[in-house]
């Protein structure tokens, strides 16, 4: 009984107490409550940072599992590569300036930026492929999707607004009128659902938020 209380009920009670304190502060901003809210905000930052090495454990475990599936030369190379990258960046940060050092910034700019920027560019081709293979204008909804998309696209590309000046105000109208209409409806509905889930979490109905697998 005590075990269930400590392992399940007390954490759920903690969620409730902390959540209610924060909500009460919003409606009655007493200096003491505001100080508690600020302190809790600081705590979340520190907890998230102290537990950062969990990422390293999970990465190592994922690499180990990957190696078990593929024990070839290439498998071993793929296994060791993230750890080599890790060491390289730790060495970069060992120079004076820590992560502000020119050495670290050289590594980050030329390795991380180059790759991530390219990863974000690739979906361009998949968008074009999807437009070719799947985007069929066979309903009024599909037509609305395409018109909304194209008109807003033309507003963002100067060539079109230069060749056809009315495209600029039309594109802006699409952004600020029908897009706002649909977007606001979605925002309100998502907000209603978020409140329900939030309140369920506070009263302990959503145990999945703190379950450990």
């Amino acid at each position: 009984m005590a075990e269930v209380f400590i392992k399940r009920d007390l954490p759920l009670a903690l969620i409730f107490i902390i959540g209610i304190l924060v909500i009460i502060e919003f409606f009655f901003p007493h200096p003491a409550l505001s100080a508690i809210k600020a302190e809790l905000g600081t705590w979340t930052v520190i907890i998230a940072n102290v537990s950062i090495f969990l990422g390293l454990f999970y990465m190592s475990y994922a690499q180990y599992r990957m190696l078990q599936r593929q024990k070839t030369l290439s498998g071993y190379i793929y296994f060791i590569t993230p750890f080599v990258a890790l060491c390289l960046f730790f060495i970069g940060a060992a120079f004076p300036g820590y992560t502000s050092s020119p050495q670290y910034q050289w590594l980050y700019q030329n390795i991380y930026r180059a790759q991530v920027a390219m990863y974000v560019s690739l979906p361009l081709f998949y968008c074009y492929y999807a437009a070719y293979r799947a985007f069929r204008i066979r309903s009024i909804e599909a037509l609305a999707l395409m018109l909304g998309g194209l008109l807003y696209t033309f507003r963002q590309i100067p060539l079109f607004t230069y060749l056809c000046p009315p495209l600029h105000p039309i594109g802006e109208w699409v952004l600020l009128v029908p897009n706002v209409a649909g977007g606001r409806g979605a925002v309100i509905c998502v907000a209603l659902a978020s409140i329900v889930v939030g309140l369920r979490t506070l009263v302990g109905k959503e145990v999945t938020t703190i379950e450990v697998r």
Binding site: L54, L86, N179, G185, T201
Partner: protein, 214 residues
């Protein structure tokens, strides 16, 4: 201005990793996989380094210089998070998670009600009357109709028939226009990123690193 050795080397390294990702367009290959594994290590290292500095700045320094001993509690809670790695003690990690979830839920719920429901509804109605300009009134009416009908689309407890069916269909059209605008924004974003990479390859890799111009 001639580039230094490290600048040129950096450009070649960046080009190497740029092409490693681009090679995926052809097919999945070892060159791409190597780059992929490398970035995993980079991201983990980067986040660890910044997290360590943040703990030092946000916890260690205030404790030692300002006497904020209460900050020892989140350090202990953060350490408790590691208990989730062992099945028998994983329950202890629920406590720091509870602090995170409780605080996060509390701050979220308070802002949502006014910011994303009441104020949004208020703006929708008041936009119709905000000015005497016929264009503004027309736009306001469109927004009002669009918001009401797109909300009706999300009513899943009643079948979409009759007036509700018509309203939901109109709402779906507004939602599709909104989705189209989002999709367009994404496509142009990807295009911008690709353009940026092409600009790097042309101005930095080809002109500076290979041809030595600029």
């Amino acid at each position: 201005m001639s580039a230094s050795f490290w600048e040129i080397l950096g450009i070649w390294v960046a080009a190497f990793f740029t092409f490693s990702v681009l090679s995926f367009l052809w097919k999945d290959n070892p060159y791409f996989k190597f780059g992929q594994q490398f970035i995993v290590g980079v991201v983990v290292a980067h986040n660890i380094l910044f997290a360590m500095k943040s703990v030092y700045d946000n916890a260690v320094i205030p404790i030692m210089t300002q006497g904020r001993w209460t900050l020892i509690i989140p350090i202990i809670l953060g350490v408790l998070m590691y208990t989730r790695l062992h099945r028998d003690y994983a329950w202890a990690s629920k406590y720091p998670t509870a602090v995170l979830v409780g605080t996060g839920t509390g701050v979220m719920v308070t802002g949502i009600l006014r910011g994303q429901i009441i104020d949004q509804a208020k703006m929708t109605v008041l936009d119709v009357f905000k000015s005497s300009n016929p264009v503004d009134i027309f736009n306001g009416i469109i927004i009002l109709i669009g918001v009401l009908t797109s909300i009706s689309f999300f009513i899943f407890t009643k079948e979409h028939k009759g007036p509700l069916g018509i309203s939901a269909k109109i709402g779906r059209i507004f939602l599709m226009i909104s989705l189209g605008a989002n999709w367009s924004g994404e496509t142009v974003w990807y295009l911008t990123q690709m353009t940026g990479r092409v600009m790097f390859l042309w101005h930095d890799w080809i002109k500076r690193a290979i041809l030595g111009i600029g």
